[in-house]
Amino acid sequence: MPTKNSSEKDLLAVSGGRIQSLSRRNFLGYIGGASALLVTAAACSKDDNNNDNGVDLGKDDIGILNYAYALEQIEAAFYTKIFEAPYSGISASESALLGDIRDHEIAHREFFKAALAGSAIPALELDFSSINFTSRDSVLAAAKTFEDLGVTAYNGAGKLITNPDYLVLAGKIVSVEARHAAYIRDLISNGSFADNTAIDMNGLDMARTPNEVLTLAAPFVKTKLNASNLPNS
């Protein structure tokens, strides 16, 4: 039988379903302690980068570079995983060119990491459990998703960049992503490199906002990302 002069034992009482045994005085004391804990948690969230709001990508051009770094982390990890155990029936040509793509994405990832230096977000925890890496169809479908998504992400990010040098850098990368996208699409179905699922009636690729892109990428990313400080225009 718990006594009523110890908050520790009061908690035991709650967990034992015997809240009725708490005195009013101790009950208020317990709530007060809980409130204090909530306040502490809220205070932490303001300066801790990794909390319920997620990893803060940052603002301005740095934020956009971190956004790109996040996407390149996903791509690089995906292609790296392909080569841990390549799907059965992978051809020599596919192996060589998918290996090229892996190296390109690693180069992009490491470039952003180096360029961002102390401003870089941490390595993300990823989730590729929805992809069957033993299946060529599953791997190529995921690759198509990532490459097309990357193209629309960079296309949409261009206008958010203020430094012309960064705009050119994004341009240097996006056309390589588009080359990847076309190649992957042609592996799936020859001639689909720029079909009407990617290109509109004006002959234009699509552009997506960071929020649109991160929503589509979310199933593959365990780490919560906070894009709320990214520029809007």
Binding site: D103, H104, Y154, V168, G171, K172, A182, A194, D205
Partner: protein, 278 residues
């Protein structure tokens, strides 16, 4: 942006600037009016259109965007007419998937022409116009069999697409004052890269030693198109060496492939000049 400083600088080379701007009093009244009505982000465009009214076509920020879009339109006309002629030449393209692919690319280039003409007109400028009669796709005899030898045709196609990618990339900075125009140009830029990737795969299937991406500065074609590939071999970006970056095993070849490079407007103009009849 200090507008008065800009005016003062212009006045050094053009003492008439205030008269052109409808008199100093009115000009400054216009500026005051602009700053009150126009959001700061739009100020460069407003300023550009004011200078454009003062100086006519081709000056100020708006003039830069007009000129850049007309440059892009010129390249699109070149590509569109090339594919129109190629797809329309009996016996050039073997039956098979190549017909569909080149038709898709032709349709995109035509759509780009239409889109850019519309955009330029919407900006209040005049789009340039070219017809088939303006072009010499043999480039003064360099590609004499361009419409009778499929491999030559694809080699020129690859060069046009890779050059187009570099050209758009080089002009992006000139479009930063107009978000919609910049995004549209980027959306064309990546389509050209998709085309380049596919044409390279088509050439690979016919025995050419190329990949969907550009390795070093290799064209897989020959010295006649080298100007379109020079500079692609760089392996350093923004001062960061990409080879073996971060303890990885990224080769020099992969480092060059991972980033496409720009060409300046002058470089592109020199490359495409032989394809325009004098």
């Amino acid at each position: 942006m200090n507008i008065q400083n800009i005016i003062n600088e212009i006045e050094k080379v053009d003492p008439e600037v205030y008269d052109r701007l409808n008199g100093r009093r009115n000009a400054m009244k216009n500026f005051a009016s602009f700053s009150g009505k126009v959001a700061l982000a739009a100020l460069p465009i407003a300023l550009g259109s004011m200078f454009k009214k003062a100086y006519g076509k081709g000056s100020g920020v708006t003039g830069l965007i007009d000129d850049t879009l007309n440059f892009a339109l010129t390249l699109e006309y070149l590509e569109a007419n090339f594919y129109i002629k190629g797809v329309g030449t009996a016996g050039l393209i073997p039956a098979g998937p190549g017909v569909g692919a080149l038709t898709t690319i032709r349709d995109h280039e035509n759509a780009h022409v239409t889109f850019l003409r519309t955009a330029i007109t919407a900006l209040g400028a005049t789009p340039v116009t070219f017809t088939a009669a303006n072009f010499d796709f043999t480039a003064m005899g360099t590609f004499a069999d361009v419409f009778s030898n499929y491999d030559t045709f694809l080699a020129v196609a690859q060069t046009f697409e890779d050059t187009g990618v570099r050209a758009y990339k080089g002009q992006a900075g000139n479009l930063m004052a107009n978000n919609d125009i910049l995004t549209a140009a980027l959306n064309i830029h990546s389509v050209e890269a998709r085309h380049a990737s596919h044409v390279r795969q088509m050439r690979k299937a016919r025995g050419a030693n190329v990949k969907p991406w550009i390795t070093g500065k290799d064209s897989g074609i020959g010295a006649v198109v080298q100007a379109s590939y020079d500079g692609e071999e760089v392996t350093t970006q923004a001062g960061v060496n990409i080879v073996n970056i971060g303890g990885t095993t990224v080769s020099a070849a992969a480092a060059s492939e991972a980033f496409d490079e720009i060409l300046t407007k002058d470089q592109v103009a020199a490359i495409v000049a032989p394809f325009f009849k004098p």
